[in-house]
């Protein structure tokens, strides 16, 4: 391939050829070896051991959406990393949280961010939220071969739909199947427990503060019952990553804010280990 990015020669013809606004399409045509899905892998017996990210939760509230994740990565029964970041801004109005094989997921997020940015720069407008969600679907599908070998990536995508003026959440399965969730959603190994917690706590009139508390409560419950999900680590000052997306754009809560929420919850749990009670009827 004549065009290496290091050289300062003339732009190769492929760069000046009118074509798609997609960076992935460009990469596929110009240097397909750089696309994650195009790697040829030798057949592998059994599962490959690699760090896995675990629980991501999201909830909508009037005016926006909250996406949060715990900080633990595990490899088998080992904790591979205590402070991994699994929630990323995708662009100004959306964010993606990842569960599954950490290395591949982080790469997928990087490419997804670039895909959205590239489109925006070439076209001069942003993709619709629906368009972004579909693009992510395509990327997961291209990872299907690896997913079959146990290296699955299952993201949760949340964003503020500027056309409909509300927050929306999309969840995915390993085959790239996409479904829009109403109210709240979770993915990853602790998601069963997190979803249970959110089911009891969710209301459709939450304030932004209540919504951020809700997701941290759900992550606490996930960590309580799932060994692969990390709870707030007070000793090391590692707290969940909580992000809020509203019509003002993406914002990640500062360490003080998220530690404030986590510590308040922790305090309450000392008296009531199972957390807030929902009414029986």
């Amino acid at each position: 391939m004549e065009a290496n990015t290091r050289s300062t020669g003339r732009l190769p013809a492929a760069f000046l050829t009118p074509g798609s606004s997609s960076f992935m399409d460009f990469l596929g045509a110009h240097s397909p070896d750089l696309l994650p899905g195009n790697r040829a892998l030798p057949p592998v017996q059994g599962a490959i051991e690699a760090p896995h990210g675990t629980t991501i939760v999201a909830t909508t509230f009037p005016g926006g959406v909250v996406l949060a994740g715990d900080r633990r990565a595990t490899m088998g029964n080992m904790i591979a990393q205590r402070d991994i970041e699994k929630v990323f801004p995708a662009d100004e109005y959306s964010a993606v949280g990842i569960a599954g094989t950490a290395g591949l997921a982080v790469e997928m997020v990087k490419l997804f961010q670039l895909e959205l940015e590239h489109f925006e720069k070439v076209e001069g407008v942003q993709l619709s939220l629906e368009g972004k969600a579909n693009r992510l679907s395509t990327m997961i599908r291209s990872n299907l071969g690896l997913a079959m070998q146990g290296l699955a990536v299952v993201p949760l995508f949340a964003g503020f739909d500027v056309d409909r003026e509300r927050g929306r959440i999309f969840s995915y399965d390993v085959t790239g199947g996409r479904s829009e969730e109403t109210g709240y959603a979770a993915t990853g190994s602790g998601s069963i427990f997190a979803r249970g917690a959110m089911k009891k706590l969710y209301r459709d009139d939450l304030s932004e503060e209540e919504a951020t508390t809700l997701v941290v409560q759900a992550l606490y419950d996930a960590a309580d019952d799932d060994s692969a999900t990390g709870g707030p680590d007070v000793a090391r000052r590692i707290y969940p990553i909580v992000t809020v997306i509203t019509d003002e754009g993406f914002r990640r809560l500062t360490d003080e804010e998220s530690s404030g929420i986590a510590r308040a919850i922790l305090e309450r749990r000392l008296a009531q280990p199972d957390g807030p009670r929902a009414a029986l009827l």
Binding site: T5, L11, S31, L114, D247, G249
Partner: protein
């Protein structure tokens, strides 16, 4: 049986340069100026959708005068170059200098290859640094040379006269409103002294603002914010004071102060 006319290389190049220069002169000129918090791009552009300025990468902006389809082609090539480079290495490894070199090579090759028509474009590639000393502005004429500019630069048909105007009046550390005012004055000044008026809705303005909290520093200035800056400009004409309107970058969705 006819023998081709002999055209000396000097003459051939001069003809191509004149062809390109005439093409560029048909378009409207634009200016790029340094101000205290970054670099501002100002041009007259009646179109809302076909831009003269755009973002290439985090800190790098692009401006072009001349033939739209040709500079648009180069712009997209630049975006692809920058994105691919950033993806392969790191976002910090994408620089205006590297991009300007690639553009210069591209334009130079096209200009001197007999088979291709020279591009009728003149480009500016600018990168905003952490401090004004780190700002870089490169001007790329149609023939593929690179000029490293400081303070202010104008490109397009009327560029020489506008540059002269700017050179006399531009100074370091201007506020955005002051720089914008100077740019509009420069664009509307005519050689014969009959200055034109450029209405706000025909202005295209964009900045590379080093104070933006985001990684991506490029921002278009439109609508209310532009009107406010142009008003601030009028107010600033009487008492020329630098700290005129620094709160003007808060209308975007991103800066949540």
């Amino acid at each position: 049986m006819s023998t081709p006319f002999y055209v000396s290389p000097q003459q051939a190049m001069a003809d191509r340069a004149e062809y390109a220069r005439k093409g560029i002169a048909r378009g409207r000129s634009l200016v790029v100026l340094q101000y205290a918090d970054g670099i501002v791009f100002v041009g007259e552009n009646p179109s809302r959708a076909l831009h003269k300025f755009s973002e290439i990468y985090d800190r790098i902006g692009f401006a072009a005068a001349g033939k739209y389809n040709e500079y648009e082609n180069l712009r997209i090539g630049g975006v692809r170059y920058a994105d691919l480079r950033g993806y392969t290495y790191d976002r910090d490894d994408v620089t205006a200098r590297g991009l300007a070199n690639v553009y210069a090579q591209t334009l130079g090759t096209i200009f001197s290859s007999a088979g291709e028509k020279p591009y009728e474009v003149e480009l500016v590639v600018a990168e905003v640094g952490d401090a004004p000393e780190g700002d870089q502005i490169y001007r790329l004429p149609h023939d593929g040379s690179i000029v490293d500019e400081h303070g202010s630069v104008a490109v397009g048909g009327n560029a020489e006269q506008i540059s002269g105007y700017l050179d006399q009046r531009h100074r370091d550390g201007m506020s955005l409103a002051e720089a914008l005012k100077l740019a509009v004055q420069a664009l509307s000044s005519q050689a014969n002294g009959n200055d034109r008026e450029i209405p706000a809705d025909r202005l295209e303005v964009a900045v590379l603002d080093r104070t933006r909290p985001q990684q991506r520093k490029f921002k278009r200035i439109v609508g209310r914010q532009l009107a406010r800056l142009l008003e601030a400009e009028e107010a600033a004409t009487a008492p020329t004071d630098a700290p005129s309107d620094e709160a003007d970058d808060s209308s975007g969705p991103e800066s949540g102060e």
